[in-house]
């Protein structure tokens, strides 16, 4: 079951690195630069485009260290070529111009896809998927329509040259682009909210960059819609602002790296006594507050530090990393999948923590066995109680019923017997009544009917009434408590009162039943000679298993000459 969910740590894969793109990008940049200068394009524009392109290429190289971000890496590498392709519009060649026109917005669509599928290449959500499709339709689709009517002599695909139509398409594109920018802005803000702490560290700066870029786009597109003029300064600024996206990615990686402690610090952290549990220490070391440690027991079950069984998660939003010592799995770390992006960190924690975890695991195993012993004791006591009930019922409905039948028969005979026979029958009747009375006492000791029917207070009051010394009862118990607790509390009072009668030479005693939100406290006090202890023959000692099965604690305060106080506390939720 569990082993299928445990992922091995991803190894650093270096295949098909986009390192080769580096010279290509430099060459493309130089070509664009030459083209710009040749066509007398403003230097600021050339500089903005080159800066954004090389920032994207640089980010794609930094992302190399995150094996799971492969698709983001290719998008980062492809975007600059789309951007430089759009700059072909500067060329006087008709073919290059037309190609440049068609590619004009593609880079923006690439960026939208990059951010809303970051980091693993899958859209975050359904709205994110819609945003990607919209971005491509808007840019590629819009330019395909636009090229048919563009009022430019270099346009090789022109059907008709219509400045007004071209202007309308331009404005529609700008309006839709503004809507898309708002959408992406919302997506980014929402993403920040849902991310776990480790992921927020790695992806937060990118999301901030995305938000800034979306806002800058809104300003620029708003200007285009309002004034129908493309102001070069604004356009260049927008491209420069878009650099916050690749820069954000790089900052995110750097930030989560800074968080990565050195191995020696890890050892200190993991051995620190400041935070109590292994779970908290690992959570701190890995910077993931949601982290859980599952210790693997010998038969392959997993338990938490307290020995409670836990299941390894199967969902995609949790990741599981196995910790092994000498090839044997001893524990599993359940954590935020974003930590898989920091294999070196997880690996060093795993190596450092293994020994400490092994100790914890042995402790967890002992706790788990203790819990089993306790549960089994609980089952034994419960089975004993069920047996007591059965015997009590058999006494009432079996033996006692037969004696009553006998009593009725004696009554019938007595009515028609002669005097001498009637005397014998009357004596027999007395015997039967006595037997019924003794059977009743026996049944009450085994399982008191009143306790079952009316609850603890009534049953304890009845006990007190029958005691051969004055016993006062005060109770704040209302309603019923779990059967096992009622029965144990009843027996505690019964045994304690028996001791008072036998040993204490007391003149009176009192019973206090206190119901608090999470406990039931039962106190039996007398004014006798004191000096009482629980010996192995004492009835209270016989209740030990029953009390321990319920996690109850019994204490005796019995100084010589000062009476005895027997107090039992049962954990008991509401």
């Amino acid at each position: 079951m569990a082993s299928g969910a445990v992922t091995a740590l991803p190894t650093r894969d270096a295949h098909r690195d986009p390192v080769l793109l580096l010279p290509l990008a430099v060459a493309a940049g130089l070509a664009v630069g030459w083209l710009g200068v040749h066509e007398r394009i403003a230097g600021t524009r050339i500089a903005a485009d080159l800066a954004l392109s090389w920032a994207l290429i640089g980010a794609s190289l930094v992302v190399l260290e995150r094996p799971r971000w492969r698709r983001a890496r290719w998008l980062l590498a492809a975007t600059p070529f789309a951007l430089l392709g759009a700059d072909l519009e500067w060329a006087s060649s008709h073919a290059l111009w037309t190609l440049g026109f068609l590619l004009e917005g593609l880079w923006a669509a690439f960026l939208v896809q990059l951010v809303v599928t970051f980091p693993e290449g899958r859209p975050w959500s359904r709205p994110a998927r819609v945003a990607v499709v919209a971005a491509y339709m808007l840019t590629l689709g819009g330019q395909l329509v636009g090229v048919l009517v563009a009022p430019d002599t270099r346009d090789m695909l022109s059907v008709t040259s219509s400045p007004s139509l071209a202007d309308a398409i331009d404005r529609a594109q700008a309006t839709a682009g503004a809507c898309l920018a708002v959408g992406v802005l919302f997506l980014a803000l929402q993403r920040v909210r849902v991310l776990g702490l480790p992921a927020r560290r790695a992806q937060g700066p990118l999301l901030v960059g995305t938000a800034i870029t979306a806002l800058a786009d809104l300003v620029w597109l708003g200007w285009v819609i309002g004034t129908r003029a493309r102001v070069p300064t604004l356009e260049n600024t927008t491209r420069a602002v878009a650099m916050t996206i690749p820069v954000g990615i790089v900052i995110g990686i750097g930030w989560s790296r800074l968080r990565r402690p050195q191995t020696s610090e890890l050892v200190v952290e993991l051995r620190s006594e400041v935070v109590a549990t292994m779970r908290e220490r690992l959570a701190r070391a890995l910077g993931d507050p949601t982290l859980d440690v599952a210790y693997r027991l010998t038969h392959g079950r997993y338990v938490d530090a307290d020995g409670r069984p836990i299941e390894l998660p199967q969902q995609a939003d949790r990741a599981v990393t196995a910790v092994s010592v000498r090839g044997e799995e001893i524990a599993a770390l359940i954590h935020d999948p974003a930590l898989l992006d920091e294999p070196a960190l997880v690996e060093s924690v795993r190596a450092t923590a293994a020994l400490v975890i092994e100790n914890e695991r042995l402790a967890a195993e002992v706790r788990s066995q203790l819990a089993e012993v306790r549960a089994s004791r609980g089952r034994i006591v419960a089975a004993g109680d069920a047996e007591r009930r059965r015997i009590e019922r058999n006494l009432h409905d079996g033996a006692q019923q037969r004696l009553v039948t006998l009593s009725v028969a004696l009554g019938l005979e007595a009515a028609r017997a002669d005097r001498a026979a009637a005397d014998v029958l009357a004596r027999a009747q007395d015997e039967v009544e006595q037997a019924i009375g003794e059977l009743r006492e026996l049944a009450r000791g085994i399982h008191p009917t009143l306790l079952r029917d009316e609850g603890l207070t009534s049953a304890v009051e009845a006990l007190a009434r029958r005691a051969p010394l004055p016993v006062t009862v005060e109770s704040s118990v209302q309603g019923r408590l779990p059967d096992q607790i009622e029965l144990a509390a009843y027996f505690v009072v019964s045994e304690a009162l028996t001791n008072v009668v036998k040993h204490a030479s007391a003149t009176d005693a009192s019973v206090l039943l206190e119901r608090e939100p999470t406990t039931l406290r039962v106190t039996v006090t007398d004014d006798g000679v004191g000096g009482a202890r629980i010996t192995s023959e004492s009835g209270l000692a016989g209740l030990r298993d029953r009390l321990e099965a319920l996690d109850a604690t019994l204490s005796i305060d019995s100084e010589a000459g000062r009476g005895t106080n027997v107090s039992t506390v049962f954990p008991c939720g509401s």
Binding site: Q400, V408, G411, R466
Partner: protein
């Protein structure tokens, strides 16, 4: 007098029926559970229902519940509950709502035909009947400060009879005393215990039982 008998032990049921029949009580129906009992009471309007406290399905206190149901839905039928339990709580539960035409008798009394007949007659006359053993159990309780010790033996005896549900007339008959003497003793006992005298005999039972159970 017409009675019905509900007990899930057929031998007990039939024996009691014969005992009653031999003494001139008409047993009009017998049954083994509470549902059949309620149907029978509804259809036959008996004077008294004798009800076993433990009956199917749970064998706990079905008889008590049926008794309460009969007293509230069919007031013309008195109920005598036959119980295995020597516990004042059950007896009080039975009588505290309306201490009239209702009784709590230990089951072994069915062998003593005169005690059984006495109880049946008293509940059918609207009295309240509490088994003597239940009252003795309450009287035997040890108290730190015990006003019962102040009572004369006669007053104590009369208090017990009141707790059993006897009327003044019944007490007179039992103890061979004049009504006047009995009333004097009752006033004396109540004054010592601090119980306020109730006009009605049946209310008086509750006051005495509540005092003793305290």
């Amino acid at each position: 007098m017409r009675v019905v008998i509900a007990d899930d032990a057929p031998l007990v049921r039939e024996g009691v029926a014969r005992l009653l029949a031999d003494n001139g009580v008409e047993v009009v129906d017998q049954m083994g559970d509470a549902d059949a009992l309620l149907r029978s009471v509804r259809d036959l309007h008996p004077d008294v229902a004798l009800v076993d406290i433990r009956m199917p399905p749970t064998h706990t206190d079905e008889g008590l519940q049926a008794a309460r149901e009969i007293r509230s839905s069919f007031p013309s039928t008195a109920v005598l509950v036959l119980s295995q339990h020597l516990e004042a709580d059950y007896a009080l539960q039975l009588v505290e709502a309306k201490p009239e035409g209702v009784g709590y008798l230990l089951k072994e009394r069915v062998g003593r035909v005169e005690q059984l007949l006495d109880a049946v007659r008293r509940v059918s006359a609207g009295e309240c009947v509490i088994d003597r053993a239940v009252v003795d159990d309450l009287l035997a309780r040890r108290r730190r400060v015990d006003p019962l010790e102040e009572l004369t033996p006669r007053e104590r005896e009369i208090l017990a009879l009141m707790a059993e549900g006897r009327s003044n007339q019944g007490i007179c008959r039992t103890l061979w005393l004049s009504p006047k003497t009995v009333e004097t003793h009752i006033r004396g006992a109540f004054a010592k215990l601090g119980i306020r005298e109730a006009a009605e005999d049946n209310r008086r039972v509750l006051a005495v039982l509540a005092y003793l159970k305290r």
